[in-house]
Structure formats: structure tokens, C-alpha cells
Amino acid sequence: MGCMTALLSLRFFDKIHIFLLILCVLLISSITTIFLHYIIINKIFADLSYLIKNTLMGRRIGGPAKDDVLMAFEQELTLISEKMDQLEKSALSSHKMTAEMQPLKALSPKTTRPLCAVLEKYSVLQDKVATALDQLKKIIKINRALAIAAEKVNLSAVEMAEDTSATSKTASGGIKSVGHEIRAISELKSTMGSSTQIIQELNEMSRHVSQFITTIAAISRRTELLSLNAGIEAARAGEAGKGFSVVANEIRTLSESSKKATEEIGGMIREIEIRTANAINAMHNTNKLEENIKVVYAVGDTFMHIVNEVKAMDKVVGRIKDITVESSNDSHLMNKLLERLDNVLQECTHMLSGMGNEASEQTTILNTLVIEYENLRKLNMQSAIEAEQQ
């Protein structure tokens, strides 16, 4: 049972080897037997020849010696007969052996041919593995270069992310200032609009005051005329009109004072009107301010676009950074995997090399066995022919 298990566990080539060895041993033993029989027969024939010679020269031998010789002759004949039988059996056995060896002869090329084919395929496979190994080494080199490039890109992306982040912060700071500017200039615009309205109202009020002053001046002039007329009438009245003349003079003095005051106020009102008119003109002449406001708004819009663009760029750069980090990690991982694959392929190469050597040895052994078998077969055939001839 143990032998069977051991036999089953043997490789194909080893089994063939053992089978062929057993056949060789059988052949050699058979041929040795035939050879021994051949020697014995030769000896018997020599003895027979001697006996016949002695018989033919019987006159020299006489009495009991003659009987002994005849007895010996009979014994020899019996022995020859037995040996002839054995020889016949051996010849038959040899023929049988030759017949049995025919399938082996047919099997030999069948065994060697696939083995040679396998050997050739091993060789091709070995070449392909070597090519793959070579290409893999190139890929590893390229991948290492890519990993280095990815790391550089990653560093650049990090620097770019830092730059864009700083730019974003600067732009954000700038846009805050723009916000303050927009607020200030909008409030200024609003305030200027209100001031214009107030000054226009003030101008209107000055006109009203001016009208009042004109009225007061007219009243004053009429009062003065009245006081003059009163003075004349008081003079006509003589002594009785003296008191009235004093009142008339006072009224005239008051009207003159009033006239002077109205003239002064009128002058002041005209001055106010001129100044307010100038102010209104100045307020209305706001083209420059509007232009400045437009410039501030345009700057603000530009800043807003810049901030939006920078923010978008910041996001893109962030994504690029993430991608490059992933790419760098993938590249390192791929490098490790490629190195492992390289090791596996190298192991395969070694294994293939070993298997090729073993197959080559097996083929050599098998070829030697076939040659030996062929020699034995020929020897056996020759022995059989010789045995038949005997």
C-alpha cells in the first residue's frame, strides 16, 4: 500500500524511468539466461563431438570403457534434449519479450515528443516572462518618475493653494474696503441730494424774505412821504401844529431808519440769494462726483469679480491639490504593487528555469533509455534468431 502511495506520488517522468528500468532488468536477465544456455549447449556439443570422435575410434577403447562412453553419450543426449527444450522456451520467452516491448517502442516517441514540445513551450514561456520582467522594470522606472513628478506637482499645487488662499484673503480685505467706499460714497450722494434740496428751500425762503423787505421798503417810503406831508400840514397849522410837526419829524426819522434797514437787509438777502444760487449751481454741477461714484462702483464691481474668480480658483486649486495627493499616493501604491509583481515574476523565472533543466534532464534520460532499449531489442532479436538457428 505504502509502495503504491509512493509510486503514485512519483512524477510522470520518474514513473516512466522506473518502468523502463524494470524492463531493462528483465531483458538483461533474459539475455543472460539465453547466453548461459548457449554456453552450456556449446559445451554439450563439444562433449558430443569428443564422444563421437572417441566412438569412431572405438577400436582404441574397449570393454567397460565402451559402455561408459555410451552411457555418457546417452546422458549427454538427454541433457541436450532438456537444454534444447529450455532453449526453445527461452526463445519463445525472448519473442514474447520482443512482442511486449513493441508498445514500449511505440510509447517512447509519444513520451519524448510531448516532453520536447513541453520543453519548447517552457523555453518560449521563459522568454516571454523575461520580456515581461524587462518591460515591468521599465514600467517601474516610468512609474517612479511619475511618482516624483506627481510629488512635484503636489508641492506646486500646495504652494499654489497657499498663494490663492493669500490672494483670496487680500481680495476679501480689499472688497471690505470697497464696501466701505460704496457705503461712504452712496451716503455722500444721498447727503448731497438732501443738501441741494435744503439750499433750494433756503433760496425760496430768501425770495420770500426779499419780497417782504420790498413791501417793507415801500411802506417805509410811503411813511416817509406821509411824514413829509404831515410836516407841511403842521407848518401851515402854525403854533397849533408844532406838536404834530415833532411827531411828523420822528415818523420821518423812523421811516428813514426803516428804509436804511430794509436796504441793508435787501443787500444781505441779495447776497444770500447769490450765494445760495452759487451753491445750487455747484450742487447741480455734480458730474465730477457722479463720475467719481461711477469709478468707485466700477472698482467695486471689478473687486467683486476678482474675489469671485479667486474663490473659484481657490476651489479648483484645492481640487487639484486633492487630486495630486491622491495621484501621488496611487503612484506609490502602484510602485509597491509593481515591485511585488517584479518579485513574483523573478520567482517564476527561477522556477521555469529549474523546470526547464529538469525537463531537459528527463528528456536526456528518456532518450538514453530509448537508445538502450533499442540496443537491447536488437540484441534480443539477434539472440532469438541465433536460438532458432541452433
Binding site: I182, R183, S186, Y297, G300, D301
Partner: protein, 119 residues
């Protein structure tokens, strides 16, 4: 309706004293004049409580922001206010960057802005 902007005005509140200006489109240098006119019309009608519904506004230029800031003083002087509602993320980003939250109030919904007037 100006090219690129559409404006509708609704009134809310117990006495319809709150004007809701709903703007659709972009408020840039050109279209901001329409928004300004709408605000001036509302103020002319003695409506000093104003809400700008910006849910359909994708962009407000400096001129647009200037209009809001410019009218704010007059509205507050008259006892009213200008409040912004439903800012889109893009507009809200710029609003925050310009730091207008120091002067203008914003609300997630028009109803919240209406309630903030105490009606």
C-alpha cells in the same frame, strides 16, 4: 421693465404700509436705475417701510448696493427701513464680503422681514 430686470411691487401690513419690491434678474449699473426709480416711487408714496425680495437676483453690482445704502438714510429718517429678504448664496457671499450686515438687515423669508416691522 428694464432689459435684464423685472420689478413688481406689492404691499403688505395692516394698513398696507410695507412695500415689497420683488426683483428678477441682475442688478448691475444699467438695471440699477430701474430699481432706484422703483424705490423713489415707493418713497414718493410715503411708503417708508420697504422690503427687497432678492430671491430671483443672481448678482448685485456696486451701483445696486449703492442704491440700497443711499435710500436707507432717508427711509430711516422718515421712521421706516429697508430690509433685504431671500438672498441667493452668490449675493449673500458678496453681501458678507462687503460687510453690509453692519447697515442692512437680511432675512431668510419675506414673511420674517414683514414681521420684523412689528406688524
Amino acid at each position: 421693465m428694464d432689459h435684464g430686470v423685472q420689478i413688481n411691487i406689492d404691499y403688505e401690513g395692516a394698513n398696507l404700509e410695507i412695500a415689497i419690491i420683488r426683483v428678477t434678474g441682475l442688478i448691475d449699473t444699467d438695471t440699477s436705475r430701474s430699481v432706484s426709480r422703483a424705490l423713489e416711487d415707493v418713497i414718493a408714496k410715503k411708503q417708508f417701510k420697504v422690503i427687497m425680495d432678492l430671491s430671483r437676483v443672481d448678482y448685485i453690482s456696486s451701483a445696486g448696493w449703492g442704491i440700497f445704502i443711499g435710500e436707507l438714510k432717508e427711509l430711516r429718517r422718515q421712521g421706516g427701513d429697508l430690509k433685504l429678504a431671500c438672498l441667493t448664496p452668490e449675493v449673500d457671499d458678496i453681501f458678507k464680503l462687503l460687510e453690509f450686515f453692519n447697515v442692512l438687515s437680511t432675512f431668510d423669508a419675506v414673511e420674517d422681514a414683514v414681521r420684523s416691522f412689528g406688524t
